[in-house]
Amino acid sequence: MSSIESDEEDLTRKQRREQAREQRKAMEEAAAAGAARRARLTQLGIVVSVVVVAIVLVLIITSGGGKSGIPASKAEKNSVTHEIAGLITGIPQSGNALGSPTAPVTLQYFGDLECPICRQFTTGALPSIIPQWVRTGKLRIEYHSMETATREPEVFKTQQIAAYAAGKQNKAWYFIETFYHEQGEEDSGYVTEKYLQGIASQVPGLNLAQWTSDRNDPELANEVKTDEQAANNHGFTGTPAFLIGRSGGALTKLEYSSAPSNPGFVNEAVEKLLKA
């Protein structure tokens, strides 16, 4: 074998070794990349599983009937009636107003009986506002209608008129309070004739025949319309919305800065007006 042939053979062997090394390296890199990709997919799979479980939990929490206040039993209805009676019995009522006609401060409360935020205000803030300011003769609260949460305008009109019809017997606030306490699942179509009759039957001393007849009074439908116009004129876009001021004087907008169940914003405004 010549020296030239030997050199060529060495070079070929070197090249083959080099090629084999490069192939091995490429395979190792491909295997490492594949493993990394599989690891990332596994990590994402775990995240997706956790997210799916979390969303299912959120759906269960928000779909539950826990938020609905519609009582399942007569005992629950009695409990609501008892609670409301304890809060407002003995306080003068006139039409849709609660409180002494000579109270120095007036609060106009614009609400939709199906509005859940109004429910928060009514069941959260009013139980402290009413004993402190209304029962003591310092504040008079007038309820007015503004459609927000109720989907069907006709249903809205019917339910608000039902409350005002109770007001013809000076019992509107029993009806309003009971409705909010027993408010059903939003947009579930729970406001039926039977439901309204049920609320009315819980109002102590309400003459049901008179109430049924008064619901057809066109004056009440006009009142709901007038309330809506007033809400529009004041630029209200959501409920609950409020106007407050010295009785007989100009009323100004009152906005809540924290949760509507916190009575602080009303307390502050009333204190300020009483000092003025």
């Binding site: 990332r40 994402l44 997210v51 969303i55 928000t62 939003e186």
Partner: protein, 165 residues
Amino acid sequence: MSARALRITLIVLTVLGLGVASYVTYVHYAGIKPACTAGESCTKVQTSRYSELVGIPVALIGLIGYVAILASLLARETETTRFATAALTLGGFAFSAYLTYREIFSIHAICEECASSAVIMTIMAGLSVWRFLRGEETLAAGPLAAPPGVHSSAGEPAAPLSSAS
């Protein structure tokens, strides 16, 4: 799309989402009318009981989510931060999907701000998952940059910005 462009796109989308979430959170606490071209539908969504989850405004949950995503994007890019961004945006996407479901099937009204946020979050989830699966390492200029030659936590050498692809 280069890794840098992808990261910048995600940051821009996060800032947009942060703006929307901040506005909706402000509107929620101030009790004012949200800007809405679709009549009262935004107000209807805003006053719905689904506007809060266990007493916490969903707008605030969104705001916190966007802040967390922004933090994961502004941190030095590693395998871990890419994973964090992907996980957070997937969570945000799922939550947006839940809220959109509630708007359509429970409240029967669409809030424009919520829909904008849902679109932003959907794009971000897609981009951040793609970014995570690509597994690229990049360095950005300025405050996002790491010194040349710095190695990532995954042990990969950090590519200079100009060569990032």
